[in-house]
Assembly symmetry: C2
Homo-oligomer: 215 residues x 2
Amino acid sequence: MQSVMTEAVALLDEAGEPALTFRALASRLGTGVGSIYWYVASKDELLDRAADHVMADVLVAVEKLPAAADPIDSMRAIAVALFAAVADRPWLGAYFMRDTGTQPNALKVYELIGQQVQRLDLTRRERFHAASAVIGYVIGIAADLGQQPPQEVVDGTASRDDVLDRWADQWRALDREEFPFLHEIADEFAGHDDAEQFRAGLDLLLAGLRLQSGR
Amino acid sequence: MQSVMTEAVALLDEAGEPALTFRALASRLGTGVGSIYWYVASKDELLDRAADHVMADVLVAVEKLPAAADPIDSMRAIAVALFAAVADRPWLGAYFMRDTGTQPNALKVYELIGQQVQRLDLTRRERFHAASAVIGYVIGIAADLGQQPPQEVVDGTASRDDVLDRWADQWRALDREEFPFLHEIADEFAGHDDAEQFRAGLDLLLAGLRLQSGR
DNA sequence: CTATCGTATAGAACGTCGTTCGATGGTCGA
DNA sequence: TCGACCATCGAACGACGTTCTATACGATAG
């Protein structure tokens, strides 16, 4: 049933993985627990399929991206779109990481980035490493960011900035001699934008790639 | 009790997170389930503390790394050491990601990388982004690699290479027109070395950073 | 010496979860 | 009408995290 997946995604969107239980899903669908097992063999498969379900939408968004003349610009656009998708579906990060080689739509994303890499003047091994690095960076940062936000933020008790501020304060409370770097960037961290941070790192990676490919 | 953490780590090493249950840990320690709660408030804390416990060792290994004249070379060495630690403790990747800003030893690692970044000629924001990118890349790739290996590998039923080969075969079975990149790199993937792949991506990132810092 | 309090241990009990299983309809061709 | 197959359902099972109460040990105070 198609609605099983859409409803599963809805639960994940609302409160992350812990909210997706067979009982909650069944009650949401107005059916029994056992029925879900007719469509899905296990919770792992449920999560995989749910992730793949939304990756299908991400994929069409990525595919309708205007093709850039420069392959590296294209990769950048794909990566940014991918990050955006995970940014507003934090749970997706964790499940993009599982079985990248198994989920059909995740595979296609890998392929899309790889096709851009193929346009660069590199050895086969370099191409393999380049595509893997970009994918790895995107998924890694996205998953990191996708850490289940603290309960207070989910409640609405505190805003994301409040939490960031509190962390920054903790850093500032550390010994200045021992932690000069954390002191220096506490302010940067306090108000930082995840997407900007992601793009900055991505650009470093792509600059290195551009260098390797001889432009 | 110190032995609680060492035994917890032992369980994690043997069979990953699912193996670490309060009952298993209690039986291992020859005590009751309730006793563990005297030292630890929840399973989350147990995992955090276990992760921090091994990070302490990683930290001393990192700190006794020979200081390089070039800050970027230093960062590379730290990152490689960090990756190596996660590589033979796959479960560590997932729990390095949680509460990076909370676990004391993880914080110190962040600081160490940051101190190297501080030696580069960059703006404060660029430094913040650079350190975050490197940390993010390391953790991301490590966590990805730390995906609980398929059951067959844990059993010993199949080797890691067998699993890789099977994936490569799946890729080769795809339509060649639609998936040219996956076809091209199937061979590379089949026998690839995770550490080499990690280093290759890291070098791209660091090359970009070097470029930004004007050497 | 005994009463008391903080430290530490132990395990029964509770609620929730993923999962299994057998029973029950419904539909359709023979 | 009869089975064969698709689909649904919810009780039941075992494992888990967690809570709670009971108990013991040691030091300290009266």
